[in-house]
């Protein structure tokens, strides 16, 4: 029984780490621009698909292909900000949501054209020999996912708290006009935020692709789960997003193992709803006062 639970936890943490990275991407963009970016999942898909395309199609070694893919996705993220979000400034929240949904459909359509409907795999970074912890097992790639996610989360934390650019992005999210007045280049900060979010998404995609495989529509579910995780943790709180992601992964895995695998996603959402009923701004969110 103990081994079983350990296995559920290990599974949950791996899956949760992915959710956490997607959720973090949501939180960063929301913090900077008040936009819920529903194409966050597509960044993940593009990171994985791009790497596979560059390495298989152009014969680049995987690490180089991954770098190319990440750069490409960062450009996509910045283009999204520049050409779709910025022109619609001042539009209502729902309008920007529909714009990002449109962007996600568009990106999926492009991926469909470029790479077709096939499912693609990626080689594991350091082999597939399972690591045993008692009766529970773990793949080296799971460690890559957990380790990679930790590094990225710490990096983001450092960026926002200890660098000028990071603080400037935060300033824009607090008060755009004031930020502009003290000489912050707001539109550049927006590009940085979207680029950073795309970077996180694409790296998440590359880290998990060896385990999960990928296809042109792989981003939909990840985007949805990432959004749920961000809400669970308290929207706009980066570390809350990470906690929300890990928690959601654990809930799903434990629910699948202990209660019912068919209803595990439903159980995840029920718990999410219950949390919201008792804590309307998520687990670690600030209680918001309505502006009159």
């Amino acid at each position: 029984m103990f081994d079983q639970i350990l296995q559920f936890v290990l599974t949950g943490v791996t899956v949760g780490a992915t959710y956490a990275l997607v959720a973090l991407g949501f939180a960063i963009i929301y913090n900077a621009s008040d936009v819920v970016n529903f194409s966050q999942g597509e960044f993940v898909m593009l990171g994985a698909m791009g790497s596979i395309a560059f390495s298989a199609g152009n014969g680049l070694p995987l690490w180089l292909a991954a770098i190319c893919a990440v750069l490409l996705v960062i450009c996509v993220g910045m283009a999204l900000q520049r050409f779709a979000i910025a022109p619609a400034r001042g539009a209502s929240v729902v309008t920007t949501i529909i714009i990002t949904i449109g962007a996600s459909i568009f990106l999926r359509g492009v991926a469909l054209l470029l790479w077709g409907k096939d499912i693609f795999g990626m080689p594991h970074f350091s082999g597939e020999e399972p690591i045993k912890i008692g009766e529970a097992t773990l793949l080296p790639q799971n460690l890559w996912v957990m380790g990679g996610a930790s590094v990225l989360v710490l990096g983001v934390h450092y960026f926002f708290n200890h660098t000028t650019n990071g603080k400037a992005v935060l300033a824009c999210s607090c008060n755009r006009t004031a930020a502009q007045l003290v000489g912050i280049n707001v539109s550049r900060m927006m590009l940085i935020a979207y680029g950073l979010s795309a970077l996180l998404g694409s790296l998440a995609g590359i880290l998990v692709a060896p385990i999960t495989f990928t296809s042109y529509d792989a981003g939909v579910m990840l985007g949805l789960k990432g959004f749920s995780a961000a809400i669970l943790g308290g929207f706009g709180n980066p570390m809350g997003a990470v906690a929300g992601g890990l928690l959601l992964g654990l809930i799903e895995s434990l629910a699948a193992g202990l209660i019912s695998s068919g209803y595990k996603d439903a159980i995840g959402f029920v718990i999410l709803l219950l949390v919201l009923f008792f804590k309307p701004s998520g687990l670690f969110g600030k209680a918001s006062a309505e502006r009159v």
Partner: protein, 330 residues
């Protein structure tokens, strides 16, 4: 009754179309789907456009209505009419129970909660195969009949569903122009201010939430009888998002906007079919471009355009005024 001017126009158009184009695929087949979507969009617009409460779970209530009718008629041999009522009853219970805790939430949290609700309903439809038929769906649903007039052809379904649409539109217009309608609009502006003016915001929001859910449930029942078949993919969160898109695309807080949005999003894929592999990409691009350039939606955007084009002509001013009052009211 100036706010009903558009309604008469809608009624006449809907009545004339099948007369000019009888048995036309785009009228009696795609048209019926568009009308059904319009019913859903108008009801969602009551909630989103007027009460300012986003819902990403509307397809869930649509699904409850559809499955209640489908299961009761096929598995328990009920007559279709009481099955519709049972669906409405179930929806009322679910919507009423959940309204309070859900509507306490704001903004993205509300979006997430309704999204989650829709997904939970969908998962139950997929997993509870014994009742729902699982992902393969449930077939053999009988058709409706009214005093011996059996609704068994596309044209007859057109008549039924378009009539229901007209009733729903009329209802929506009247609600919007009633005292509670003004309360609703106040809510969208500022909830605190509305409270100050002595409006019971919680009761109003709950009322609208339940009403929107009931209309969706009715639409679901009709959908089940019309298709004679239901499966969970018609009630997924993708469809919820599509409905929200219809409302926003047409123009929030405008009943006619919601109808226009529903019509466009129903016909667009039909027309884009010719692009085959490019369809998905083009659809996404169109969606983005429309929202970037007409952030207030097509209905409002087109009104502005019309006004600008006809600004300096006397008759045009009349038209603009009519449009203005129509927008304020509609």
């Amino acid at each position: 009754m100036s706010y009903l001017r558009g309604f008469y126009l809608l009624t006449i158009t809907a009545a004339v179309l099948p007369l000019i184009f009888p048995d036309n695929y785009y009228v009696t087949v795609v048209g019926v789907t568009a009308a059904l979507h319009a019913i859903l969009a108008v009801s969602l617009n009551l909630l989103m456009g007027y009460a300012g409460q986003i819902s990403l779970g509307h397809a869930g209530f649509f699904g409850i209505g559809a499955y209640a009718s489908a299961i009761l008629t096929t598995r328990y041999g009920w007559n279709p009419w009481p099955a519709i009522l049972a669906g409405l009853g179930l929806t009322a219970v679910v919507a009423f129970t959940l309204a309070r805790p859900i509507l306490r939430l704001k903004g993205h949290y509300l979006a997430m909660a309704t999204l989650g609700l829709g997904i939970i309903i969908n998962i139950v439809l997929v997993q509870a195969g014994k009742f729902t038929g699982g992902p393969d769906g449930l077939g053999g649903i009988p058709s409706l009949s009214l005093f011996g007039w059996s609704v068994d052809s596309d044209l007859r379904w057109y008549i039924v569903i378009v009539s229901v649409l007209l009733v729903v539109v009329w209802l929506a217009l009247n609600i919007i122009n009633s005292r509670s309608g003004r309360a609703l609009r106040a809510l969208h502006g500022s909830e605190v201010a509305a409270e100050m003016m002595g409006i019971n915001t919680t009761a109003t929001k709950t009322g609208v939430f339940v009403l929107a859910a009931l209309i969706a449930s009715l639409a679901g029942s009709l959908f089940a009888y019309q298709q004679a078949f239901v499966s969970p993919d018609s009630f997924s969160f993708f469809f919820s998002i599509e409905l929200v898109t219809m409302v926003v695309l047409g123009g929030m807080a405008s009943t006619y906007g919601a109808i226009i949005g529903a019509i466009i999003l129903t016909f667009l894929p039909e027309l884009l079919v010719v692009f085959e592999d490019y369809e998905v990409m083009i659809f996404g691009a169109i969606l983005m471009l429309m929202m970037i350039f007409l952030p207030q939606g097509l209905f409002v955007g087109l009104q502005h355009l019309l006004r600008r084009l006809t600004r300096d002509r006397r008759t045009a001013i009349d038209a603009a005024e009519a449009g203005e009052s129509g927008r304020g009211a509609a």
